[in-house]
């Protein structure tokens, strides 16, 4: 199995374990858009939400500082970055979930909403990638 796939599996198990800790010890569904969106909307439990976001920023920051060399390869086209950010922010709030909430936590609960949302955003993403290639190549 290629190393990338192995790392994907290991990282995935870590993500799932994080979600399991959040569910079993915290009693909540670990959804990145819900946790962050609650801070943006000011809808309460700010301490917990801030702690989650702090861990989510700090641990990768430390790992990258120690190991070095992480790259996001995000496009430098400002219009694309802004449009994508607005769509992701608005869309995840409207759908009440994103990759972690609907994908990881929803599918594992066999929730029809989670499964349908995941299939739809995967399809929309694939269509967008094809459309972008058609436009720019």
């Amino acid at each position: 199995m290629p190393l990338d796939w192995m790392m994907g599996l290991v990282g995935g198990l870590m993500i799932g374990t994080a979600a399991a800790i959040y569910l079993l010890l915290g009693g909540r569904v670990m959804g990145a858009s819900g946790i962050l969106g609650g801070l943006v909307d000011g809808s309460g439990r700010a301490g917990e939400r801030l702690a989650f976001v702090a861990g989510l920023i700090a641990v990768p920051a430390v790992i990258v500082a120690v190991q070095g060399g992480a790259q996001t390869h995000l496009t430098s086209n400002v219009a694309t970055v802004v449009a994508a950010g607005l769509l992701v922010g608005f869309g995840t709030r409207l759908a009440n979930g994103c990759t972690s909430g609907h994908g990881v936590c929803g599918i594992s609960r066999l929730s029809p909403r989670g499964i349908v949302a995941t299939l739809i955003y995967l399809l929309a993403g694939a269509v967008m990638v094809v459309a972008m290639r058609g436009l720019f190549q």
Partner: protein, 139 residues
Amino acid sequence: MRVLVSLLAGGLFGAGLLVSGMTDTRKVIGWLDIFGAWDPTLAFVMGGAIIPMFFAWRLAEARGTAPARPETRLSPDLIAGSVLFGAGWGLAGLCPGPAVASLSFGGWNGALFFASMCAGMAALPPVRKLWTGPPAHSI
């Protein structure tokens, strides 16, 4: 206690996103590129993440501590929101978790994505109000 659990879960989530490669937009776009040079890594990430959570749900439901589902029907909001989110995800290759996790090393464009994402989140309540319009007068 809850704050500590959140910090721990957020940290482990961030490490997992970094290790799995999900903070790299090329990997995400490669996964969505089903008609091009398809990269199946994200399937391993999703599969790996679902395994512990599958058992965690069973345990939480057996203990009666599982949170109630906020909504169960497949609403138009769920479908429209997922289409918009997927379009943005395919456009830049970032979703909310990795966008936050890569803030320390994502440069100015990463910060701009994060700020735009927060603006998009903040825009939902006022836009929704426009949509539904003023409350209808009862006859």
